[in-house]
């Protein structure tokens, strides 16, 4: 009798231990939100929110310090949008190739290769961009400096390609074979089947892949820190140096005095960045939920 009670007690204890561990992710997420918010509170109370978000001047160390984040936000937007022009066609194209054209052997080789591309640390991409790609582009395009938004966008795009490719490939593989068979039976050729049936059916899955690739590009730090040039001004064209939000935090955190407005402003940049990626994730989640329902895959 007693033995049974001990056993039941043990079971209950394990259950609680596991439940608490499972709540850790939630705790960390809430912790991150609270930390960002409390640390950026001084600047949020000191300066009007509108001026922070849309101010055109980021002079954090001047005596008359200004904390307009617009140049940083525009910088992030420029490199991210540029990166999308690289990673969407190449990523989706690669996924379509693997799905439609690759033989069994090619597939067994290509999928790990893409995973390896995804596994290369961002610092290596950044270093490579700095010592190889930037000088090369500077020569080819005759631009004043290779360290600019264009180079950063190019490398970020390559970095985001594996994310887009592997998630798109997953989406394509969820499309029921019967869709393809029906289309081919109606006399459509493989390309027509692919573009008119398979891709539309996998459409929202592919959009989720693209959105998550965008999230990866927005949050990337080391590459843009090393390659984007680092000038906190609103760029006039794609070949100007920029300082995206991530690299601003990484570059300035070391010199910001703890408790100063600058310190707080960097957390505010982190908060905005966090909210952007949160938004991106929520959109991706909503789309993929709808998509799973559409193909009858359940939740």
């Amino acid at each position: 009798m007693d033995n049974k009670k001990v056993r039941q007690f043990k079971e209950a204890v394990y259950r609680y231990v596991f439940a608490v561990s499972a709540l850790a992710s939630l705790a960390f997420l809430v912790g991150i939100i609270l930390t960002l918010f409390t640390q950026s509170l001084p600047i949020l109370t000191e300066r009007p929110f509108f001026d922070l978000l849309f101010g055109r001047h980021w002079y954090p160390t001047h005596t008359e310090a200004e904390f307009g984040m617009l140049p940083l936000i525009v910088g992030s937007a420029a490199v991210t949008i540029g990166a999308m022009f690289v990673c969407v066609p190449i990523g989706v194209g690669t996924a379509l190739y693997i799905h439609e054209l690759a033989s069994e052997r090619q597939r067994a080789l290509l999928k790990p290769t893409i995973e390896i591309l995804a596994g290369i640390p961002s610092i290596v991409y950044g270093f490579f961009g700095m010592v190889v790609v930037a000088p090369l582009l500077q020569d080819i395009l005759h631009i004043p400096t290779g360290l600019c938004a264009f180079t950063a966008a190019l490398i970020l795009g390559i970095m985001a390609t594996p994310t887009v490719a592997s998630l798109s490939e997953d989406a394509l593989s969820f499309v029921p074979t019967s869709f393809r068979e029906a289309s081919l039976a109606l006399g459509a050729n493989r390309w027509q089947t692919l573009t008119k049936v398979v891709v539309p059916a996998a459409g929202s899955g592919i959009s989720t892949a693209i959105i998550l690739g965008m999230g990866r590009a927005v949050g990337e730090t080391m590459t843009v820190l090393m390659v984007a040039g680092g000038a906190a001004v609103i760029p006039r064209n794609l070949f100007d140096p920029v300082r995206p939000m991530t690299s601003t935090i990484a570059a300035e955190m070391g010199e910001a005095v703890m408790g100063s407005l600058h310190y707080s402003a960097l957390f505010a940049v982190g908060l905005i960045l966090f909210l952007i990626t949160l938004g991106i994730n929520i959109v991706a989640e909503l789309i993929s939920r709808k998509y799973r329902l559409k193909l009858g895959l359940g939740r």
């Binding site: 596991f18 561990s21 499972a22 850790a24 270093f127 190889v132």
Partner: protein, 309 residues
């Protein structure tokens, strides 16, 4: 002319058998297919080309720098001579610390989500947190680690702060890899164990976890590769440009391979001497990360054949 043919003619003005002036006449649609497929091939070639280009440059320029001394000595003369041993050791400590912290936590979360049947709102909430945590930019983890571990708990810039920060960043990956491995264990295994009178926890410990172990290990190895290469989270929590010797406690700051590359390229006064060392560092880091992910990929391919599927 029969009625059917008339009807067709009435519709479009063509008789059956007439060639339709479609956009997709046989020749043009074959051409479209050929062009389309060519574009897809091009996409793959671009990805492969870039990968090859990157590996070629780093390997060819980094190889000449690497020697036994490079791997086993500390940097000398303000980073312009000597090796990178302390950075390799530092990366090892940081990665090991992160794994030690996150492995039990991630595994326990996965067990709870898969083996116990929590209320659905709880599952949704946890799943949402995991997904969002996975999307948080690495530099934001760095900010969090700095405010909480370095300043809040007073751990200072140290291995401990860096490992905890890296661990939190790796948590979502560990949970989903473990979940996948646990869910792949056939339900019949559990039922057999429970039918023999084993308790819930005994079933998990003796049956589910051993069966899922290879999958869990693969996830862990992939995480090691990812954590070892991360720079942004340790930028303000653990890494430093130069230490005199090797770290002597978990509260000492460390050199780390990825941060060392960054520091060599952005600090110091002799770029012409520092860049070759950075090439060497990048090659070592690349080899390390690629070897680890290749190991994980091979392991996973083998597991595909388990459970008789």
């Amino acid at each position: 002319m029969n009625i059917q043919a008339h009807a067709v003619q009435g519709m479009d003005g063509y008789l059956p058998g007439d060639r339709l002036p479609s956009r997709w006449s046989p020749r043009s649609r074959d051409l479209a297919q050929a062009l389309g497929f060519a574009c897809l091939v091009l996409c793959v070639l671009i990805s492969l080309f870039f990968l090859g280009f990157l590996i070629y440059f780093i390997a060819s320029r980094g190889a000449s720098v690497i020697s036994w001394e490079f791997l086993t000595e500390a940097p000398r003369r303000a980073m312009t001579r000597g090796g990178i041993a302390p950075a390799i050791v530092g990366t090892f400590y940081l990665t090991a610390g992160a794994i030690l912290f996150v492995m039990p936590l991630g595994l326990a979360s996965a067990i709870y989500l898969c083996e116990y049947t929590p209320k659905s709102y709880l599952v949704n909430l946890i799943r949402l947190s995991i997904n969002n945590l996975a999307g948080v930019p690495s530099v934001v983890f760095g900010l969090f680690g700095f405010a909480v571990f370095v300043k809040g708990f007073g751990f200072g810039v140290s291995i401990l702060s860096g490992s905890l920060t890296l661990g939190i960043m790796a948590l979502p990956g560990i949970i989903s890899a473990s979940q996948e491995a646990i869910l792949a264990v056939p339900q019949s295994y559990r039922e057999a164990s429970l039918a023999l009178g084993a308790s819930h926890w005994q079933t998990i410990r003796e049956i589910v976890l051993p069966s899922a172990l290879p999958g869990i290990l693969t996830g862990m190895i992939l995480t090691i590769g990812r954590v070892a290469g991360e720079t942004a989270p340790i930028l303000f929590t653990a890494a430093t440009f130069y230490t005199r010797g090797y770290p002597d406690s978990i509260f000492s700051e460390v050199m780390a391979l990825p941060y060392h590359i960054y520091a060599l390229m952005t600090e110091g006064t002799r770029p012409e001497l520092q860049t070759p060392i950075a090439y060497g560092c990048s090659l070592i880091l690349l080899c390390l990360v690629l070897a680890v992910s290749a190991l994980a990929i091979v392991l996973r391919q083998r597991q595909r054949f388990s459970y008789g599927s």
